[in-house]
């Protein structure tokens, strides 16, 4: 990933600042940067969202396609994650440079969404063992400005919230052959139940304390970080340690508690924005990439 090189005194300045709960940009340890969320930015997807977390810029598109259910789960649909690192973010991503990071992020999201409760996969089933909806979640990293995982998870949740899957009916004739009929009304669609979709909170250990929403410079000062995925009710669904440093068990518990608290606040803030956007409906002026 876009690595920043810092001199020792600069790192020291950041570490001391975190210890005194005053980060370089004036935030406390548990404050997020100002985020901008917009959904429905790509017209040829079932649902899309763009999230800007100061510099970090993420675009997520969700596409619903018909597929066959997996053998072990015949009555469920499934999600596919794909992360594309644009060379726009950093020249290192050019060619195959971003693949490693992309695969790492995608695998983290498979774990986060592996919990049965996080999303109701049964609602994606059309016809057991034969047809189901497959949601392809495509993430595009446009600018890396630190805290990728959180920003992507916000964008994924917003895009899933925005996703509308057309309603289909299965018709069966006398001979037993099945036919799938699509509703004529394009607005006749189902929406996903978003209640338990988790968000990721990354806690970076800097010095003796941990911070949320680390900037690139802060990430350079942190040896280890903890990824926790939290549902809106405050339940942890997965946990992952990142970085080469070590964490002692006590601080992990502290970090989990902070993660829960911050995660809940994050869910509330996101839901508020999504509801606000929806209530404005078509009257809202779309900003997109050119606004």
């Amino acid at each position: 990933m876009a690595a920043v090189v810092l001199s020792e005194p600069e790192k020291l300045y950041i570490v001391h600042g975190v210890q005194e709960d005053l980060r370089v940009d004036g935030r406390g340890c548990e404050d997020y940067r100002c985020a901008e969320v917009e959904t429905d930015v790509v017209s040829n997807t079932s649902g899309s969202a763009r999230v800007k977390l100061e510099n970090t810029d993420i675009l997520v598109g969700v596409k619903a396609e018909m597929g066959t259910p997996k053998i072990e789960k015949p009555d469920e649909g499934y999600l596919e994650f794909c992360v594309d690192c644009s060379a726009n973010a950093t020249p290192e991503f050019e060619g195959r440079g971003g693949e490693e990071l992309g695969a790492e992020i995608a695998s983290a999201f498979y774990t986060v969404f592996s919990s049965e409760n996080s999303i109701d996969l049964k609602s994606l089933c059309i016809n057991p063992r034969e047809h189901c909806w497959v949601l392809y979640v495509d993430v595009l990293l446009l600018v890396c400005g630190g805290n990728l995982y959180d920003a992507i998870s916000i964008a994924v949740k917003a895009a899933l919230f925005n996703t509308r899957i057309p309603k289909v009916r299965v018709l069966e004739d006398e001979e037993g052959s099945k036919e799938i009929e699509l509703s004529d009304d394009p607005y006749d669609c189902i929406r996903l139940n978003m209640e338990n979709v988790p968000l990721i909170v990354t806690l970076s250990k800097i010095g003796y304390r941990h911070v949320v929403d680390a900037t690139l410079e802060e990430e350079a000062c942190s040896l280890a970080s903890l990824l926790v995925s939290v549902t809106s009710k405050g339940a942890l669904t997965s946990i992952k340690k990142m970085g080469r440093g070590s964490l002692d068990p006590e601080s992990i518990f502290e970090m989990m508690e902070t993660g829960k608290k911050v995660g809940k606040a994050l869910h509330v803030a996101l839901q508020k924005v999504l509801d606000e956007e929806e209530s404005l409906g078509t009257s809202r002026q779309k900003v997109g990439f050119l606004g």
């Binding site: 005194p9 020291l12 005194e20 370089v24 404050d31 100002c34 985020a35 949320v212 924005v273």
Partner: protein
């Protein structure tokens, strides 16, 4: 106490009207016709199509006799001799350091163009060459002056003055080089309690004002004592003010930073970066700057 703010994006508003400063500048966008007179020569940032001379970059038209150039606004740093720059060491080589200064090529800092630790004045020996990494290593930040420009456009820097040298604790912000106003001095001790170095290359260094200048170290010993909380608050506020000014494309110089700092005082440090607060304090700064000009 966790603070999370999320919002919907707001469409960008057209630029705020600014009073012209001095003579009107000839600004062009790519594709704009600069002149249809065929008597001119085409310089950087322009091309000829038919009889017309057309701009290929967005910027200011400059004319030297018959030559027309467009100086781009969104550009890497084009060094000039005597400029103050802030840069980061990327490589230690034989007799030289490579310094990243946001120019097209990495700049060079020769071993012979630094003050030796202790301020000794002598020829550089092989021992000095071996101890180069003790002076400056990869990742270190320095302030320097442009000594000369090589034929390929790379800059040669020097730190042979006590005001230049290795930078200690503080915060670096990177802005567009076009937003830094050229002035007599680029080192400012702001009355609010922080000092800034406004590098001509768009690298801005904010650091706590120190009372005594340690002259005998030659600028290579860094102070690793924790910075006091009050200094930290001022530095963070100045940083956010500069970010606010840059977001709204205002020129950076001591007065604009100071006015912005004063305008930001009613707000909390972290709130300065909220779009609406940012707009408000930048507008206030702008008005005060216009009043100053008369």
């Amino acid at each position: 106490m966790a603070a999370v703010t999320m919002r919907l994006p707001v469409p960008r508003k057209p630029a705020v009207v600014r009073a012209p400063q001095g003579p009107e500048k000839h600004l062009v966008a790519p594709g704009d016709t600069i002149t249809t007179d065929t008597g001119y020569m085409r310089g950087h940032g322009t091309y000829v199509e038919g009889d017309k001379l057309i701009a290929s970059v967005a910027g200011v038209v400059e004319r030297v006799n018959k030559l027309i150039c467009v100086r781009a606004l969104n550009t890497r740093y084009n060094g000039e001799v005597g400029d103050v720059v802030v840069g980061r060491i990327t490589e230690v080589q034989q007799k030289r350091w490579k310094v990243e200064t946001y120019s097209r090529l990495d700049s060079v800092l020769l071993l012979s163009s630094i003050n030796l630790p202790g301020g000794e004045l002598r020829r550089r020996s092989i021992e000095d060459e071996l101890a180069m990494r003790d002076c400056l290593q990869e990742g270190d930040l320095i302030s320097a002056e442009v000594q000369s420009i090589f034929t390929d456009g790379a800059l040669s820097l020097h730190t042979r003055s006590l005001k230049y040298g290795k930078l200690s604790q503080g915060v670096l912000i990177q802005v567009s080089p076009s937003l830094v106003k050229r002035q007599k001095t680029h080192f400012h001790d702001l009355p609010c309690g922080a000092s800034v170095i406004l590098g001509n290359n768009g690298y801005i260094w904010i650091y706590p004002t120190s009372e005594q200048r340690d002259e005998e170290t030659g600028g290579f010993v860094t102070n690793l004592e924790p910075v006091s909380m009050s200094d930290r608050e001022v530095i963070s506020r100045v940083r956010n003010c500069i970010v606010a000014l840059v977001t709204h494309k205002l020129m950076l110089f001591d007065t604009s930073i100071l006015y912005c700092y004063e305008a930001s005082l009613p707000h909390q440090i972290k709130d300065i970066l909220k779009p609406e607060v940012m707009e408000q304090i930048v507008l206030e700064t702008q008005h005060r700057l216009l009043d100053l000009e008369g």
